[in-house]
């Protein structure tokens, strides 16, 4: 996955964050109010609930070139809508395990639970995830043409 990445080496890392309005978006606000220093890679999309997350949004982000995707919601049992995050965690866990099968680095996707009061934890989550993504480097994206590919045989 390196053929075309040279030109993009310099570009800024961008991480897409899907944050539920009630807990994690508030947690990110709290972290800001407390001036907890965080990396600037994250671009937050505010959604009402992690239950609003279709795993395909994460796939879409990765295919479009997001270097990382971070989903964060209320802790299980604390969902503002009671159960949204219970659905979400199943769906996201399936995706998380599925991504590497298709050749995606599953470390580029993370989901976590942060409450509105957990500013410090939010700082840790963002810092840690951002470090992970910087270690992985920019997402080279899909190859638009394939010259040679490994064969797999099942017969």
């Amino acid at each position: 996955m390196s053929s075309k990445s040279d030109a993009k080496q310099e570009r800024e890392i961008k991480i897409v964050g899907f944050l539920c309005n009630w807990c994690s978006y508030g947690g990110a606000d709290t972290a800001g109010v407390c001036r907890f220093r965080q990396p600037t890679d994250l671009r937050i999309i505010r959604i009402p609930c992690t239950g609003r997350i279709d795993p395909l949004m994460i796939v879409k982000s990765l295919i479009q070139g997001a270097d990382g995707v971070l989903v964060s919601g209320c802790h299980p049992n604390d969902c503002h809508y009671a159960v949204g995050n219970f659905y979400a965690r199943r769906r996201m866990e399936v995706l998380k395990r599925f991504l590497p099968y298709m050749g995606f680095q599953s470390d580029r996707f993370r989901y976590t639970w942060v409450s509105a009061s957990e500013g410090q934890i939010w700082q840790q989550v963002v810092t840690d995830f951002s470090e992970t993504i910087h270690r992985l480097g920019p997402n080279p994206g899909l190859h638009q043409t394939v010259d040679s590919a490994p064969a797999v045989s099942w017969f």
Binding site: V83, Y87, R89, R90, V94, G103, V146, S148, V152
Partner: protein
Amino acid sequence: MDDKTNALREHVKGIFSNLELVLGWEPGYDPLHTRPFYVRTESDIDRLTANCLSFQNLTRYLAKSMNAVDPAADGRKIGVCVKGCDSRSLVALIQEKFVSRDRVYVIGLPCRGTLDARRIRALVPDPARIRSVNAEGDELVVETDRGISRFALDRAIARKCLQCRYPNPVIHDVLIGDPVTPRLKIDAENPSVAAVEALSLEDRLLFWENQLDRCIRCFACRNACPLCVCQNHCIMETRMPKWITQYRNMNEKFMFHMIHALHLAGRCTECGECERVCPVGIPVALIKEKINAIIYEMLDYESGIDPEAVPPLLTFSPKETGI
């Protein structure tokens, strides 16, 4: 004429007066094909055929047939012939309330595997000369202009059949033929998935890109899938919301197959129809097989087994941890 087809015809003859119609197969345009067939009259029954060429998953037509039938028509059932894999699709459709169990008469046909036309062509140098193919036990007997040759059945059947865990219908009102021993145990690892996973992460990406690069987005896979219930209202064809564009590039091709696969997460019954109908030979089902494996491992759930079960991504358990 083989025994199975005979038994099927005999059975249908016996009960046809109670049925609206029967979904089955009839011989196709060449010795390597059968095609779906609606038995509407008594006289149609003798066209019914059931053998190693009965690939089509007829449950695909069921939801439509149910709608088409005049609801006023005296409550007679619709008969449908199912192989093991087809029966799971039927269960999934019942789960999702697209088919009412009371309205169908399920004719179960234990199956040793259906043939993969591509593989036979690879076996027989000049397939145009094939007069007939027939499975006899573990052997495939191919009759050509030049004589008869025999091959191991395993060399000719579809990939999904080689790793079949449900050769016998999981629901049925009648079973035609003796039950077959499954090739794989229920909790056995899926060998084709394992073969992909043996590749490095980078190679896996290249492998899929190479496969999906051929995709022409003809939607054959979608159309053949019994569980692609949206059909004409498919997200792939709408512009509101615009999940996918008409650009012909890798991103869109990849996205297309990710959508297809994730929409079937926890629902796909591995009938393999998507893969069989693909004109460019993409192993489409292989994508979904992995998701099934994940869900089996994570939630101990298999689609299309229990008509009462709720598909796992449409429910939750507050207690599950480690997720």
